[in-house]
């Protein structure tokens, strides 16, 4: 099987990598680019630990073939903070103790950011349904939901301050 050369953009930077035609985006990120922040919990689209943004849409990177990202924009957990400045969602996860083992956390943060980018004022049940594709076995979701709601409130305030 000869390798394919894929040119894409990851977290705003141009990236080229070689992969087999059947390599998943998740494996390409983790094994080829060393971006191990995206996790594999299942490899079948059922846990959300591998969640990334592809051209602004939330996807399970274990269900995307790496060659499909040719010419497109990928954002991973490594691209959520601006340099050393945490995104408010990341800060709220820490302030609320919304992680225990932390293995699900990157996927939750990417998914929560996707929600708040499109819906700045979600209800508790909108947060719960949006995040229903992300499994967390440690927290029982309580503090995760609170962290996301709190981050949404802070982001709304920031927006008002700017406006």
């Amino acid at each position: 099987m000869s390798k394919l050369l894929v040119s894409t953009s990851v977290n705003g930077d141009p990236q080229q990598f070689l992969c087999d035609p059947d390599t998943t985006l998740l494996d390409a990120l983790r094994e080829e680019m060393g971006l191990t922040g995206s996790k594999e919990g299942c490899g079948s689209g059922d846990c959300g630990a591998c969640t990334v943004m592809l051209d602004g849409r939330m996807v399970c990177s274990c269900l995307v073939l790496a060659p499909e990202v040719e010419g497109r924009q990928v954002t991973t957990i490594e691209g959520v903070a601006e340099g050393s400045r945490l995104h408010p969602i990341q800060r709220k996860f820490l302030e609320h103790g919304a992680l225990q083992c932390g293995f699900c956390t990157p996927g939750f943060i990417v998914a929560a950011k996707a929600l708040l980018d499109r819906n700045p004022d979600p209800s508790e049940s909108e947060v719960r349904y949006w995040l229903a594709g992300n499994l967390c076995r440690c927290t029982g979701y309580d503090k995760i939901v609170r962290a996301v709601l709190d981050a949404a409130a802070e982001l709304r305030q920031d927006r008002r301050a700017v406006a």
Binding site: E40, D46, H96, G97, R128, L135
Partner: protein, 752 residues
Amino acid sequence: MNAPAEKKLFRLVGTRPIRPDGIEKVTGKAIYGPDFVAPNMLQGAILRSPHPHARIRGIDTSKAEVLPGVKAIVTGADFPELDSAMVAGGEAPANIKYMARKCMATDKVVFDGHPVAAVAATSATIAEAAIQLIEVDYEVLPHVIDIEDALRPDAPILHDDLFTQGLPELPTTPSNAAMRVEVRRGDAARALSEAAAVFSGRFTLRPVHQGYIEPHACVASWHADGQAQIWCSTQGHFTVRALTAGILGMEIADIRVVPLEIGGGFGGKTTVYLEPVAVLLSRKAGRPVRLAMKRDDVFRATGPAPGAVIDIRLGAGADGTISGAEVEFKYTGGGFPGAHEVYAGLHCTMSYYNVPDAHIVGWNVLSNIPTVHAYRAPGAPQVNFAVESAMDELARRLGIDPIDIRLRNIARPGDTGGMGMPHGAIGYAETLEAAKAHPHYSAPLGPNQARGVACGSWGNYGGPSTAAVSVAEDGSILVTEGNPDIGGSRASMAIMAAETLGIAYEKVRVVVADTSSIGYSMGTGGSRTTFATGKAVIQAAEAVIAILRERAAKQWNVAAGEVQWGGGEAVHGDRRLSLGQIAAASGTTGGPISAQAAIDPHDYLPGFGVHICDTEVDRETGQVSIVRYTALQDVGRAIHADYVEGQIQGGAVQGIGWALNEAYVYNQAGLLDNPGFLDYRMPVASDMPMIDAVMIEVPNPAHPYGVKGVGETPIVPPLAAVANAVSGAIGIRMCDLPITPDRVYGLLLAAE
């Protein structure tokens, strides 16, 4: 979120600072088991049995060996011959022979997914292709999955050399019943015959999985001098070291295990599956080897918690006082003996009630599923489901409030428990009183809704721990310990060290050291870490304070006994020397300042929880939803309140999943039918309400800050709390878990 009532007692204990390892974990930088890469590393793959029970007549690896890129192949024949021997390791001693066979089959496979061979190759693709080329000649044997089937006289026997232990006489015919345990006190039969009300019933549960999101993974590197290094995600790297050394016949100090961050364990990562295999592959290949499981490997081949069949007879007087109990529980043991859940089941059965007349019998029954392994309060939730369901029935029949009947029977300090030991500073009654007073307990219910209540307990643990506290040249503090941080323990260690030293939380950094960098610590499990390792950290910090006082005395030229320590400073009259000043001068007062504590405390106290659950049943579909949930728990004292609440909430939701959805499903061929998260349905965010975690603080006097341990207790009550609510809602006793929609719908239909 409930602030501890006596917060003022301490500066830091009970607060909620940011965890020291937090930033790495919210930015994706933390390195977990599957993330680690060693230079020149090979990728491994494991060939697993497609049969639940078969004899291995031969394994032909010749085709795989010649595949370009294959560097090593390992089968059971590469493992040293082992005699049965007990090795201290995980939560209980383990028989090393069975441990080895679980990692790699020799003459027989005993469950679907049992490893039979492993390959290391230059890429994962080649390794996967190579295992397909390995030919195994199986003689397929009849299999058995369920407990009752495994006990039938004509059942297929898993091990010809296994005779039931714990019978009055050693039997002469082999059996799948690996062990029988028993507690008898008073005269249960007589007490039951005199009771005003007796409930008898049979309860059943399927095996369930711990469900950690991170699959098992490790990298092993063998060196030509006979030493090896292992990087892995585990609850106990000293356990990995001991078991790997035992299985491979190596010296313990020749193996260095580096713990990576761990993505959940819940008891399931207190053993080895991959590590000895990876070491053998690396020895053959001469390069580091990664072995990593896929999700279906995790379900098929790592320890589920036991399923169970439980018969109970529980009697009470007219006032609700329990008079007697007869309980016989049978737990699935899986493919090999050694599961210790039956002991915990025995000790947990009604441990928190005063039951003078009781007869309790437990069985460990082998069958063709993976060897069961510890899952949060291992062995307690199953039998507790039966006990707390029976309590609910007795309350209903006698017309007594469910919390009142429990208060009438609850053990109080000084009462003698089931094991004949007087209870110490327990807060069982306080927790029940708090539940009764909680607004949830008296809140009105909607149509098709009902409320269930249940208690549960876990003994907690102490055990061996080592910790070191070192003062850096500028007075900042390094804590070195040996317990993987699975849910915020670095933060609690930092709080306890900073509280003891009288300094800011941010001045303390905590490192989880590898097995060659700190003395022995038992694994993170049994709800022991904040208690036992916390005690070690506090003792080491106290020893550092003693040194700091001596050094200050030297600087002042006074006797050490005259120097006090307070507020992070040495004090003598109106003179003060800060930690930083003493540290800066250490070069001229005696050199580096550090101390270590190696301890083995056993003055732990049990935890106790009361859960209140409101369910709503959709009578047209049988669907049960949780509409409100409150979990109250005697935590001793919370060190980091967020992570204590988090343990309570997470444990409660795992228990709810166990009650409503989760189950191992085997098909007719004995193969696991649901080895993925789609078909093994764990709770998701939209299934759950907020979980109100209420911390009741009845401190443990044997711990400087009152810690009891919190992790396991919260999974014990939910099974019955949910089942009691559903039973109340539809008027039919829920005796079988999980309470799936089809089951509820079927029962409703049959009742019509």
